[in-house]
Symmetry: C2
Subunit: 128 residues, 2 copies
């Protein structure tokens, strides 16, 4: 996959990935990928990340079934960030059950919770 060689990964071998709803344009989440995760994304058609906390390939939706179907893959002028346009199966990208992870809106000096609650995380994961 020659295109992966043209990307500029960070020193730790990771590259930032922004996931955007293909249809609505909503920014759903932000995570990192390594080379293997990008290869897996293309091979399977499901967006795959690298989990920095678990230090392993993160096949998004593996547990919940809420996979992210890849609809388009982009990079920026510096080729050091990836943007994926996706179809979010199940409707929620966030482990909190919200549609988007970006559900905290600055209001004055405080965060106001906004966004759409799609599922109850306790029911899907058995924990919050």
């Amino acid at each position: 996959m020659g295109w992966i060689d043209t990307l500029k990964f960070q020193e730790d071998g990771l590259i930032p990935v922004i996931a955007q709803d293909e249809k609505t344009g909503e920014v759903l989440m932000f995570a990192f990928a390594n080379r293997e995760a990008l290869e897996h994304t293309i091979q399977t058609g499901n967006v795959t990340y690298w989990s920095r906390s678990r230090k392993k390939l993160w096949k998004k939706g593996e547990e919940s079934g809420n996979v992210q179907k890849l609809k388009g893959l982009y990079t920026d002028c510096d080729k050091d960030v990836v943007l994926v346009k996706i179809e979010q199966v199940g409707g929620a990208a966030c482990h909190t059950g919200k549609k988007s992870c970006f559900f905290n809106e600055l209001s004055g000096d405080n965060w106001k919770e906004v966004g759409v609650q799609v599922f109850d995380p306790e029911k899907v994961y058995g924990h919050k």
Copy 2:
């Protein structure tokens, strides 16, 4: 600004920032901010980043006039990424003169240039 204290900055004091067109939802660019950049953003209403290459505050649009007017500021479930919804004055967020920095679309094994050319960078900056 107490809200800034609730954010989780990286070890280097930076936090990733995604800039999105408030009206169209298009993802325009990705960069980093530090505490000072976020304070400057709120104080001026113009999105300000930290330039990692120049190691200084990056008042976006200072040179070109293409400032980014802040319309909304969000953070994610982990509070370690910022999303700004903006009005891009001049119509182009990218130093290449493109509307969005994410103008490379993966097509087979190659990057295909897509996106809208708004200005000629040679005319605006005197260089490419």
